[in-house]
């Protein structure tokens, strides 16, 4: 049975390993927990899941697998009326019990028995059968005001509640993207190197040097280690990007503090002859894109951020830009950028599955050899992994 459980987790794309599964079995053998599904839920989560971003996935998988196990211990067993009466008394307030009279106790019990007899399989949802999640008066998690919760609630906080509430949903890594998360993702790009003035004592070198000197102290110094990666950030601004300003700001501020060599420029929709540094003075202080191309060497990593949403003409036609008459089409400029900086990616704040509906997005993606990633934590990770290669 537990092997099925393990395979079910695996099928739900949780990164569980055999070693961890064996550990779980060992924990069960050593009686870390009593025979309670609540404890089993907690134990298996502790042992098998190692990242809170997988908790939600685990909750769902666990819920699917154990659905019904808690709900009713054996459907064919007829539940004694006494027991059920007691359960109802325990869970319903007086007012609720008064409302229960609407259907009538006898009637309720009768219906219940009848359904138990008729029902052949486990059932969830729907409004008549016994099961979970529906609006039938029977089962649990339903919305019917006169429902009976079957299976009884354990005295501790019920674990079913925990995994059905899906409390860890917002920790799932495709959702949340804050400055901090971005920073973590950007760290992948770190390249440590020693450059500059030699100020730090190189202990190993000193020892080796001294040994070679037959014991005469030979002090060796070396430059401090720091992040030497160089990043050029080009941000799309205005127009359709206004919806994504917050995300881009966060990305930008995270980049700012993470890299020593970070240069940024703005463009609108697509890169043409000019870029600018300060959006308020975009018309007076702009810089020719050719100058940028020549200024930063090939060791810079280029990150373009934009939603790639524009008319295809803006990419393919000379004079296609919505702002001025460009002699060369946007595509030519993009190709030039990609040629100058082999490490180029495009981050797109639009969600990945909407890309295929936009012609311009597909075009740009092709131009960059498929190196377009969504601006989610996961996309950022993939992008950074590619850049750091």
């Amino acid at each position: 049975m537990l092997i099925d459980f393990f395979l079910h987790l695996k099928a739900s794309r949780l990164p569980v390993s055999i070693k961890e599964f064996l550990t779980l079995l060992e924990a069960l053998r050593q009686h870390v927990i009593e025979h309670s599904i609540d404890d089993f839920y907690l134990l298996s989560r502790t042992v098998l899941v190692k990242d809170e971003s997988h908790f939600d996935k685990f909750d769902r998988a666990f819920g699917e697998y154990f659905k019904g196990v808690e709900a009713l211990p054996g459907m064919e067993v007829l539940i004694p009326e006494d027991w059920l009466r007691r359960a109802v008394r325990k869970h319903l307030s007086d007012a609720e019990r008064a409302r229960l009279e609407k259907l009538g106790w006898e009637k309720l019990m009768e219906t219940f028995r009848q359904q138990l007899a008729e029902q052949k399989e486990r059932h969830s949802g729907g409004s008549k059968w016994i099961g979970s999640g529906g609006s039938s008066p029977f089962g649990h998690g339903g919305t019917h005001p006169e429902g009976i919760r079957l299976g009884g609630r354990s005295e501790n906080r019920s674990a079913v509640k925990v995994w059905e509430r899906r409390e860890y949903r917002n920790l799932d890594d495709s959702v949340e993207l804050g400055t901090r998360n971005i920073k973590v993702a950007l760290r992948r790009l770190r390249r440590f190197a020693r450059e500059g003035a030699a100020e730090e004592l190189d202990l190993e070198g000193t020892i080796a040097g001294t040994a070679r000197n037959a014991g005469w102290l030979d002090l060796k110094l070396r430059p401090e280690r720091h992040n030497a990666v160089k990043v050029l950030l080009l941000l799309d601004i205005g127009g359709s990007m206004d919806d994504h300003i917050r995300v881009c700001e966060e990305l930008f501020s995270a980049c700012r503090s993470e890299f020593k060599h970070l240069e940024h420029y703005y463009f609108h929709n697509c890169v043409y002859d000019h870029l600018w540094r300060d959006n308020r003075r975009r018309h007076s202080e702009r810089i020719a894109t050719h100058d940028v191309l020549h200024r930063y060497g090939g060791d810079y990593k280029l990150i373009l951020v934009g939603d790639a949403a524009m008319s295809p003409y803006e990419l393919l036609q000379p004079n296609g830009s919505i702002e001025f008459n460009n002699a060369e089409p946007g595509a030519a400029w993009l190709r030039r950028l990609a040629d100058t900086w082999p490490h180029t990616i495009w981050l797109n704040p639009e969600s990945e599955h909407s890309w295929q509906y936009r012609q311009s997005t597909a075009l740009i993606r092709n131009l960059l050899g498929g190196r377009m990633f969504p601006l989610t934590l996961d996309g950022l990770e993939r992008g950074m992994r590619l850049l750091s290669k």
Binding site: E26, A27, Q30, L43, E167
Partner: protein, 280 residues
């Protein structure tokens, strides 16, 4: 050995279970959670509750895995050799024991805290795989193998600044300390401030959870901030009515500096209150 929380540290059931599983199966326990939810405290409390000695290893960005095992003090040996000291001949006197060595040597079982493992270099956890798995390591300088007499209970905390390698994670148990709900929070406060006026507590928790609800805060106040704030409220002897007089979020709660630590957050908060006042 079973851990069930202590008089000064409120635990939830899932945390107890995780700790006990880690103790029984002798695996390291990795703890994550929002800052200020008592991750570091846990190791101290486990050690106190079980009556075991605690060895703490606080990790910095420059910490190397080797430093937890031992360090070879080459510089003193070099100096001694230049001065012609007699003890130079014995390399053993230049080996400085690290935290793990001390724990391995301990006569009884012990608790080892590896605090903020994510601060260290990305390779750090990988360098400790075998040491934590087998609880033994080899000292090259003296050619000896150090083996744990009693496997220590290892508690590792992380703030998620770096991802930990899979091989490392597979050897650990994992627990994520969730932000406590209102009930748990109440019992935590009870433990720290017994005899706090119920009215004050109720109002304070109200303000606190409301503050956490504000969208866009850079750093939400956490348990430790709440405790600090309550301490200040008590010290200043602020009556609960002051907290209640907030009139639909239109007044700034007293001493809010203890709750909001970020300048931008304070600005945001004050702006919201200003707007609330304005709209009335």
């Amino acid at each position: 050995m079973r851990f069930t929380g202590s008089a000064s540290y409120v635990t939830t059931r899932d945390l107890n279970l995780a700790v006990n599983a880690a103790i029984t199966l002798q695996r390291p326990l990795l703890i994550k959670g929002e800052p200020g939810t008592g991750k570091t405290m846990l190791a101290e409390e486990v050690a106190a509750a079980l009556g075991l000695p605690l060895f703490q290893w606080h990790i910095k960005s420059t910490t190397k895995a080797q430093q937890g095992l031992y360090e070879y003090d080459a510089v003193s040996r070099l100096r001694d050799s230049q001065l012609g000291e007699a003890r130079v001949a014995d390399i053993g006197s230049y080996i400085v024991k690290g935290v793990l060595w001390q724990a391995f040597e301990c006569e009884t079982a012990s608790v080892v805290l590896i605090d903020e493992i994510d601060k260290a270099d990305i390779e750090f956890p990988n360098d400790l795989l075998r040491e934590l798995d087998r609880m033994e390591f080899f000292v090259y300088e003296t050619r000896q193998t150090v083996r744990a007499r009693q496997r220590p209970v290892v508690v590792i905390t992380s703030n998620n600044e770096k991802e930990l390698p899979d091989a490392f994670l597979r050897r650990c148990f994992f627990h994520y300390i969730r932000f406590p709900d209102r009930e748990t929070m109440k019992s935590i406060v009870d433990v720290h401030f017994p005899g706090l006026k119920p009215a004050l507590l109720r109002e304070a928790l109200e303000v606190f959870f409301e503050l956490r609800e504000i969208p866009g805060l850079k750093k939400k106040p956490s348990t430790s901030e709440l405790l600090d704030w309550l301490k200040l409220l008590l010290a200043e002897d602020i009556p609960p009515e002051v907290l209640r007089s907030k009139e639909q979020k239109a007044a700034i709660p007293p001493l809010h500096g203890a709750l909001l630590k970020n300048e931008q957050d304070v600005h945001l908060f004050e702006r919201l209150i200003f707007m609330a006042r304005h709209n009335r």
